[in-house]
């Protein structure tokens, strides 16, 4: 310090100018990824977000990005901070990729730069990373989290390693539990309408199928038949093994009931209870149990809920009311959905026909115009499979906050 104070002022100025010139020259030579890293490092987030979107819209070369990041990390004074910035930027980039194919390798690189981070910072990184994977429909990654599914498809070893690492480090984190349950929900979901078969109906079908085995006419168990756990387990007994398709049909119900159990467990955790309850209701619909679904929807908002959950719950309640021809209640529900996420298209276009039918066409026209306003509002019902983006957004925001 003493030496510095004794340096002549002119020398200090000269040195400062020289450093600035060198920095300026190096800034001019900076590649696009390096520019992104520097913007994030300086906390210039508005410009960073703008550049990031443009960068993510083009085909992303992970190799180019990691090479640039290595160069940038090596040229700084604090390599630890730069490693964290690089890790943060990889997950920011992964979150907005227009094509997920580069996502896994990108996040693998990011994970490699995580060492030395504080535990909570790493937790946010994993929340954001796994949230991004889910938002892009990469359920294999999320399902690779330990203890979820013994027979999960085999995926890249490094992938599994980092997904498991998250759970080992933070075994009780409700976000990870929820992500796992959502991934399993998506893997177990079926399209089209479902039909409930009670035990008597299953009995009748089993008898009929057995008669068919003896060469007499038979009635096939429909692929959309849903049943309780006991019936499904009965159909999976060895003596049923030669009956056509029953294993497949029973398996669907068993998987869906397993999803029910996962969400019921999560309902006890207040942080994720609302979203777990919403998804439990949807799973009941898939099990052809609208009665149970309605009960869950009615109590989904008893816990604190994000706009994503609030909108989805009201939208689905509106659908239920509409099916029951309770049009006033349906209208009120769709309006509440739009109160949570204004201009969202699914609720706007569900409400508009009700208005037209009751001679309020002008309001319907205005609703339709709002729903088309550019840029469009992300609709929770259309991104349902990707999970509530607020988990990821919150994690990204906390990482930024910590690094500043």
């Amino acid at each position: 310090v003493t030496t510095t104070l004794r340096l002549p002022v002119t020398l200090v100025l000269t040195l400062t100018t020289a450093l600035a010139l060198v920095a300026g020259a190096s800034a001019q030579r900076r590649s696009e990824p390096e520019e992104l890293l520097a913007l994030y490092d300086r906390g210039v987030y508005e410009l960073f977000d703008e550049r990031l979107r443009a960068f993510a819209a083009a085909p992303t070369s992970v190799e180019t990005f990691t090479r640039a990041a290595d160069r940038w990390m090596g040229s700084g004074f604090s390599s630890t901070r730069r490693r964290l910035v690089a890790a943060a930027v990889t997950v920011e980039l992964a979150a907005v990729l227009s094509n997920w194919s580069a996502g896994p390798a990108l996040m693998d690189a990011g994970r490699g730069w995580l060492s030395g981070s504080a535990a909570d910072w790493a937790r946010q990184w994993y929340r954001a990373a796994i949230g991004a994977a889910l938002a892009h429909g990469d359920t294999d990654l999320v399902l690779a989290l330990r203890d979820v599914q013994a027979d999960a498809p085999r995926i890249m070893p490094s992938y599994r390693e980092y997904a498991n690492l998250a759970l080992r480090q933070f075994p009780d984190d409700p976000s990870f539990m929820l992500f796992k349950a959502i991934a399993f929900e998506l893997k177990s979901a079926t399209g089209g309408s479902a039909q409930w078969f009670d035990r008597d109906a299953i009995d009748r079908h089993v008898k009929s199928l057995k008669r068919g085995r003896d060469g007499r006419p038979t009635v096939q168990l429909p692929a959309n038949a849903r049943m309780d756990v006991a019936s499904a387990e009965r159909l999976l007994r060895p003596d049923m093994a030669d009956l056509p398709d029953v294993e497949f049909v029973a398996g669907i119900s068993l998987r869906l009931w397993r999803v029910v159990n996962m969400f019921q467990d999560l309902q006890r955790n207040r942080v994720v209870a609302a979203e777990a309850t919403l998804r439990l209701a949807v799973t009941y619909e898939r099990l052809a149990r609208p009665d149970l679904a309605s009960l869950e929807l009615a109590r989904a908002l008893d816990s604190p809920a994000s706009p994503f959950v609030t909108y989805s719950v009201h939208f689905l309640r509106g659908r239920t009311f509409e099916r029951a021809d309770r049009l006033d209640d349906a209208e009120a529900a769709y309006r509440k959905a739009l109160g949570a996420v204004p201009n969202a298209q699914a609720a706007s276009f569900a409400l508009a026909p009700l208005l037209v039918a009751s001679a309020r066409r002008l309001e319907a026209e205005s609703l339709a115009a709002g729903a088309l306003r550019f840029p469009l509002t992300p609709d929770p019902m259309k991104i349902y499979g990707g999970g509530d983006p607020s988990h990821m957004d919150d994690a990204l925001a906390r990482m930024r906050q910590e690094l500043q």
Binding site: R53, A57, S98, G137, L186, A189, T190, G191, G192, S193, V282, E285, S312, F315, L316, R319, E322, Q345, A346, A347, S348, F349, A350, L351, A352, P353, L354, V356, A357, A359, R361, L362, A364, E365, L367, A368, A369, A371, L372, F374, P375, L376, D379, M381, K382, Y384, G385, G386
Partner: protein, 300 residues
């Protein structure tokens, strides 16, 4: 007053009794101006030169007096819906080129609007005169399909005075993410003055597992609701293959045929204003002529 929305014209009291006869139904009614697009053909050729005197229009079975007939001269508001659910951003350039070609079939007084539909409905070109067309590009394209919502959006535009609305939807009919249910789509179609024409395109490849991610499903391509919606507006469904899979030719054909249809206007008389009104259009003394017109309207 907007030309194409049945509007309040006057309050009329119809109360007629003829001595010695059973009195006809009496309505204390609000008369409305109703506009009907009618494509009238002999074989495959349009039947030209008809006047009000040649036409019989029944509203809920009660004959109406046609007050005005226009042919070919009324400006068009055309909305083209392009299904891009299986496309990528690069498809936008093609849509811009196609939109520019569509404008060549339109007159300076006509207007064009272009909607693209994937998971969302995007208004690429807001309704505007063909010379001032501007394109708004979304940042992503492709995904699921909200075709029902896009048609609802196209039908739910305020009508402009002295113009006719035509909606042309180019789609394979698949829908798995609309808020508008199939039944509600038909109800909106019943309440519109626009004509809806569907150009049924080839089925695009469907990503496996896509529908599994949505909690409410409409499922596989189902043209029934689209056909019914088109039918009630007086429109129809074409197969793209009928035009050598050339979408622009298909759109050109639809616009030309629509331009050659008649616009009939009548003020309702002797009918209860509320509820659904069946409309029937016939040509006097020409049982060989075929008429395609909207099937009715909601009286509020």
């Amino acid at each position: 007053m907007k030309c194409c929305v049945p509007g309040l014209v006057c309050a009329a009291l119809v109360s007629t009794t003829v001595s010695g006869q059973v009195p006809p139904p009496t309505f204390r009614s609000e008369a409305r101006l109703v506009t009907v697009n009618a494509s009238i053909q002999l074989g495959r050729r349009p039947l030209l030169g008809l006047t009000a005197a040649d036409l019989v229009v029944l509203d809920n079975g009660v004959q109406q007096t046609v007050v005005r007939v226009d042919y070919a001269t009324v400006p068009l508001d055309v909305t083209v819906i392009v299904d891009v659910s299986e496309s990528s951003l690069s498809a936008l350039k093609g849509i811009e080129r196609d939109a520019a070609r569509v404008t060549s079939f339109l007159r300076p007084t006509d207007r064009l609007r272009v909607l693209a539909v994937d998971t969302y409905v995007h208004e690429l070109v807001p309704m505007s005169p063909v010379r001032t067309m501007t394109v708004q590009s979304p940042t992503t394209i492709g995904g699921w399909s909200a075709v029902h919502d896009s048609i609802a959006a196209a039908l739910l535009v305020p009508a402009e005075p002295d113009c006719r609305q035509l909606v042309v939807a180019l789609t394979d009919g698949g829908d798995n993410t609309s808020g508008t249910s199939p039944e509600q789509l038909v109800n909106i179609a019943r309440a519109t003055d626009s004509a809806l024409v569907i150009v049924h395109t080839r089925l695009g490849p469907r990503s496996s597992g896509v529908t599994n991610r949505l909690p409410y499903l409409i499922g596989q391509p189902d043209l029934r609701a689209l056909e019914e919606a088109a039918r009630v507006t007086g429109g129809e469904v074409f197969r793209e293959s009928a035009f050598g899979n050339n979408r622009i030719e298909a759109v050109e054909h639809v616009i030309e045929e629509f331009r050659q249809s008649y616009v009939l206007r009548y003020v309702t008389t002797g009918v209860e204003p509320k509820g659904w009104h069946d409309i029937e259009v016939r040509i006097k003394g020409r049982p060989d002529a075929s008429v395609r017109a909207r099937r009715g309207y909601f009286g509020g």
